[in-house]
């Protein structure tokens, strides 16, 4: 099995390097095909591993080589494939294979084609490191690696100011979180003496709660960064500057879920500190609502989907926080499928509309792009959590879980959010595919994407539809390592009432969305309508003024302070004082050199003066010596 593990892990790396060879050369198909092929190999290998685990249930654990070893610290490159990581591997390899193939078509005309695939495969490799590593340090490698790749991919079109800005923003915000994570790792090391998961978690069992709490908090700060939880969420929406496949792979399916994975992975830690868990859950619930609200009004397809991702991550954190780790992981998986699908669909649309993102300028695309419409609609249905698609099984359990755990506020929030989700997803569906064909006004000539792109998307489609049915098998498998918490309501009736209630609520939301946006009266908003003037709309469209305030109250002061430090303090105080000392010495020379007037009698006067000084000193001292006793008396009188 080790062999398959290595194949799964390293074939993306090989692919990335292969594409890198063509980095500076004009684009060639091969630079895209080979990495995709290698990724599919990796997918197959992962599948074999999955099968192995499903059948035997035994964990594959290898230690490749030592990385760092000094003092008591020992960090190997160790990889573990257990029920949790294999799930992630499946998700990652599957989605990224799809995205790779898709991207061959999508990036067809981009001159950075080769570079793109190099980065993309590199990302997959880092992501696999992240999920497969058997210690926190290895996790951190992947953690930073995916950050790096996302930097490279968000800023892929580096000639665009907005893209590079978004890339740096994403990187730096993640860095802030990573600091927290680093501290968490230090805490783990100095308290448990190791960074290996097994050893560390074993040792945690008998540590006192305060330390554990700190560990939990700091590690979670790291998770907040990657999973773009409030207040570190702004980068995710801006990250949509990257090519759409990137958004699909990194900013929907895989990287952003790393935070959830971290919490799930360290469930044994969080199990010991339920208070932190509750905090995580509440934050998750808040983000779910918060993000959904911003998605309601946004006029950029990708941003809307991004916000929905954000809110779904909120759901996952709720689950993880409440200790329903397997649920969180399950939703992570399901979400990966339908959200990636959604993004790729959006990609098709953009392709068709020459990268136009405003749904109000589209409409009625359903006629020309049937396949895309079907896919996106199904994905949205899944996202909305309608029976029997994936979302229903993964999302509704979370809501139930909140109910069962008696966190009713969270429950309510999640319920409302489910409604909002349904609304905004179908808002864009309606705006894009139904109603008047507004794009004609703007002279677009939409066309369906290449066949093979659609084919490539199909696995996701299938999974988005059927993933729910895998729930029980999945439960069986994953609870081997995760706490098996069943969420069954006490009475069957309440269960049915709740479920059906939720369904109806959601469906109503969908219908409302259609009624509002699918009709022919929709115009391209010009800022005149009453709604757009309303405070709430302004608040939402400006994302609660959070990016603005960051710019205003963090970035600008930092820039100004730096300049002050340089121009004022470093130059005018620190350096000036050094030169000042030198200046004083030199100046003394300039002033006193006049003493050497060159006039003989002055010189003689100096000599005599010197003698006189010496003599007077002598006299004073002589007298002092002679009248030593009297002086002592006087001094003592003076109290010296």
């Amino acid at each position: 099995m080790e062999l398959y593990l290595y194949i799964a892990l390293f074939s993306p790396l090989v692919g990335s390097m292969f594409a890198a060879l063509y980095g500076a050369k004009p684009r060639t198909k091969i630079a895209g095909v080979v990495p995709s092929a290698l990724l599919i190999t990796s997918l197959i290998a992962s599948t074999i591993l999955l099968a192995h685990i499903l059948s035997t249930g035994e964990i594959v654990h290898v230690e490749m080589m030592t990385w760092m070893a000094t003092g008591n610290l020992y960090i190997p490159f160790g990889f573990i494939v257990d029920q949790v990581s294999v799930t992630m591997m499946m998700v990652v390899t599957l989605v990224s294979s799809v995205v790779h193939v898709y991207a061959i078509g999508y990036m067809d005309h981009d001159k950075g084609f080769n570079r793109f695939f190099s980065w993309l495969s590199a990302f997959v490799f880092s992501m696999l490191i992240l999920v497969m590593s058997d210690n926190f340090a290895g996790l951190f490698i992947g953690w930073e690696g995916v950050g790096l790749c996302s930097w490279g991919l968000i800023g892929f079109w580096y000639h665009k100011e907005s893209a590079t800005w978004a890339a740096n923003e994403a990187f730096i915000m993640n860095r802030i979180a990573d600091l927290g994570m680093l501290i968490g790792i230090f805490l783990v090391y100095w308290n448990t003496g190791t960074l290996q998961y097994e050893g560390a978690f074993a040792a945690m069992q008998n540590l006192d709660t305060e330390i554990l709490t700190w560990m939990g908090i700091f590690l979670f700060i790291g998770a907040m960064g990657k999973s773009a939880q409030f207040p570190l969420h702004t980068w995710l929406a801006d990250a949509m500057e990257g090519p759409t496949p990137v958004s699909a792979l990194i900013h929907a399916a895989t990287m952003v879920t790393a935070g959830v994975y971290l919490v799930v992975r360290s469930n044994e830690l969080y199990a010991l500190i339920p208070d932190v868990g509750v905090f995580i859950a509440s934050l998750g619930a808040f983000v779910a609502m918060f993000a959904a609200s911003m998605a309601l009004v946004n006029r950029d397809i990708k941003r809307v989907i991004a916000y929905s991702t954000l809110s779904q991550l909120g759901y996952m954190f709720v689950a993880a926080g409440l200790g329903a780790y397997w649920v969180a992981l399950f939703h992570l998986m399901a979400h990966a499928f339908f959200k990636a699908l959604l993004f790729l669909g959006a990609g098709n649309v953009m392709h068709a509309m020459d990268s136009e993102l405003d749904p109000f300028k589209m409409g009625g695309l359903g006629k020309t792009m049937k396949a895309s419409m079907v896919m996106m609609t199904l994905a949205s249905v899944a996202l909305a959590g309608i029976f029997p698609l994936a979302g229903f099984f993964s999302k509704d359990i979370i809501i139930e879980a909140a109910f069962v755990e008696h966190h009713f506020i969270i429950y309510t929030v999640l319920l409302l959010t489910a409604g909002l989700t349904a609304f905004y997803s179908f808002r864009i569906i309606a705006l894009i595919f139904h109603g008047e064909e507004r794009y004609k006004l703007f002279g677009f000539h939409p066309h369906e994407a290449y066949k093979f792109m659609l084919v490539a998307m199909s696995p996701l489609l299938i999974l988005a539809v059927i993933a729910g049915s895998l729930k029980m098998t999945y439960f069986e498998m994953v609870t081997a390592v995760l706490p098996a918490t069943e969420y069954h309501l006490h009475s069957v009736t309440t269960y049915w009432i709740m479920t059906i209630g939720t369904q109806i609520f959601v469906i109503l939301a969908i219908l409302y969305a259609y009624k509002k946006y699918a009709n022919s009266s929709i115009k391209v908003p010009d800022g005149t309508s009453k709604m757009e003037k309303s405070f709430v709309y302004k608040l939402l469209i400006n994302q609660y003024y959070i990016p603005y305030s960051y710019e205003q109250y963090l970035i600008r002061p930092y820039r100004e302070l730096s300049t002050i430090f340089w121009k004022q303090i470093d130059m005018k105080i620190v350096d000036a004082s050094v030169d000042g000392i030198a200046g004083i010495i030199y100046g003394t020379g300039e002033k006193t050199r006049a003493m050497q007037s060159g006039n003989l009698s002055t010189m003689l006067k100096w000599m005599v003066l010197g003698l006189v000084i010496l003599l007077s000193l002598a006299v004073v001292f002589g007298l002092a010596a002679r009248h030593f006793d009297e002086i002592k008396v006087i001094l003592s009188g003076l109290g010296v």
Partner: protein, 519 residues
């Protein structure tokens, strides 16, 4: 051969430099490269014949200079110094190899060879006075390099660099004389041999004073805030090769000296001053990083960034535990490689455009993709991306200091954020965006000669980031012995608790090589 390999390492370049005077101007470059290459091979040979299981000094040599005054020519190398020596040889080699057409290149190469001698000498000297000799001598070639090949402000910069360091080290000299005097009082005979001094246990008050005296000398060299202002001038004015050597090796003399002198000689004082120094290094890290962010000249960005990294090194050193010190030593090497490479890269663009102003650039990634890639790699290394050489050092340094203070480490950890900020900003200004400036429209990408220097550095950056063990292991052994020595020597309670006792925990017996065993 092996008995005198260190002397050969020191004096071979000097001899070669003297002979260099009679080499013809056109063939001097080949001469310089071959000499440096031989030197590098020698240093590698040193590494291969180095027994990394021994924690003490190896290849020791001793020749009496002024026995009546306890000054002897004692050399030796251990895990701590070994790799810096190799690094010095390496950088001299690629420095000369990548030397672009400078005016009277002959003097330059001869100067560089002399510099190589002093650098080798500083790191293998085991007698305080011999150490001091090379320490001071190293200033002269650098003074000449900056002053003769530098920019418009070169004379101001070079003299400032020289006098500042010179003044500092004179204070250090007084400290050394005191140390020798105390040794004389204790044993009745003069000795400047560091290994003898190691055996000397001083009362705390003496330690404090001497620590300060040494500190002034080292801190100016490092340079530590607020003694750092000579560095931007020196880097700003120096020619590329000067900056490379200065950043890669000369700055390391200070940090190395901290580990060689301050810690083992004054364990209690080190503990006493741990927190003040930690705070200074945090100021270095954050404050200079912010200054770097404000710069308009890319070379200044790199210059200030190395002050910032030096902060991390100092922090790791004063973690006073194996993890931290090992990390800081590794970071010395890492920072040597990375900052050296960055200065080379800045030199590349300066060669083409004769300006270092970032406002002049922008969108360079369009015309110079290879250059952009290598620069990006080094940038990521410099911000401490895992699997690059820098990360190992920074991680271990911070990890080490975390044992001493949580909150200070948290503050110091800001390094990874602010570092990313200025580096990415600089990279964005230089390489991203549309290609606006006409002058940049058809810049040639990196040439063969430049790649000769850059490729090995890039490989080093990655390989040592993935597999640092061959370097970490020898360092670790020597550091363990030093830490144990500090623990045994320390007299105050706090020091005993702060400095881990390895003998208890891991049963490490320190093997202290003494003069006698040397022959």
């Amino acid at each position: 051969m092996l008995d005198h390999i260190l002397s050969i390492l020191i004096f071979f370049p000097a001899l070669a430099a003297v002979l260099g005077f009679m080499i013809d101007k056109n063939s001097i470059r080949a001469y310089g490269v071959s000499v440096a290459a031989i030197e590098f091979v020698l240093s590698l040979f040193l590494w291969f014949s180095f027994d990394s299981s021994i924690s003490g000094m190896q290849f020791m040599e001793q020749i009496p200079l002024i026995p009546s005054f306890g000054i002897n020519y004692i050399l030796g190398v251990d895990g701590i110094s070994l790799f810096i020596v190799i690094l010095a040889a390496f950088f001299t080699m690629i420095g000369i190899a990548s030397l672009t057409d400078t005016k009277n290149v002959k003097n330059m190469i001869i100067t560089l060879l002399f510099l190589q001698m002093t650098m080798a000498g500083v790191f293998v000297a085991l007698d305080a006075i011999v150490f001091y000799i090379f320490w001071e001598l190293s200033l002269v070639p650098m003074l000449y390099i900056i002053g003769a090949w530098g920019g418009p402000l070169r004379i101001y910069a070079s003299v400032k660099f020289f006098l500042y360091t010179f003044a500092g080290s004179l204070v250090m000299l007084v400290g050394m004389l005191f140390m020798a005097y105390f040794y004389y009082q204790a044993t009745g005979q003069w000795s400047f041999a560091i290994l003898d001094w190691y055996r000397l246990i001083l009362p705390e008050t003496f330690q404090l004073w001497l620590f300060v005296a040494f500190f002034i000398g080292f801190a100016i060299k490092v340079p530590m805030f607020p003694f750092h202002t000579w560095l931007p001038y020196a880097h700003g004015q120096a020619p590329t090769i000067g900056s490379v050597i200065l950043a890669a090796i000369l700055l390391k003399m200070g940090t190395y000296a901290f580990i060689r002198f301050s810690l083992p000689l004054f364990p209690d004082a080190s503990v006493y001053f741990m927190f003040p120094i930690a705070i200074i290094s945090i100021i270095m890290i954050v404050y200079t990083a912010m200054i770097a962010y404000a710069q308009e000249d890319v070379k200044q960005v790199v210059a200030y960034s190395s002050v910032s990294h030096m902060g991390v090194i100092i922090l790791g050193t004063f973690a006073l535990n194996v993890e931290g010190i090992t990390g800081s030593i590794f970071l010395m090497i890492a920072h040597g490689v990375v900052s050296g490479a960055l200065f080379l890269l800045v030199g590349v663009i300066y060669e083409r455009r004769h300006t270092k102003m970032m406002s002049e650039f922008g969108g360079l990634a369009h015309v110079m993709p290879r250059y952009a890639t290598i620069f990006g790699l080094m940038l990521m290394a410099s911000v401490g991306m895992p699997l690059t050489i820098n990360f190992v050092g920074e991680f271990l340094s911070l990890l080490g200091f975390y044992q001493q203070s949580h909150i200070l480490t948290l503050l110091a950890g800001i390094a990874i954020v602010v570092g990313a900020i200025y580096m990415l900003a600089a990279y964005k200004k230089m390489f991203f965006g549309e290609l606006t400036n006409e002058k940049n429209k058809n810049l040639p990408d990196v040439s063969k000669r430049e790649l000769v220097a850059l490729i090995p550095l890039s490989i080093l950056t990655i390989v040592l980031g993935i597999y640092p063990t061959p370097i970490l292991k020898p360092i670790n052994n020597s550091v363990e012995s030093i830490v144990q020595l500090m623990h045994d020597k320390s007299i105050t309670e706090e020091a005993k608790t702060r400095i881990p006792n390895l003998a208890a925990s891991k049963g490490i017996e320190i093997t202290r090589t003494s003069m006698k065993e040397a022959h």
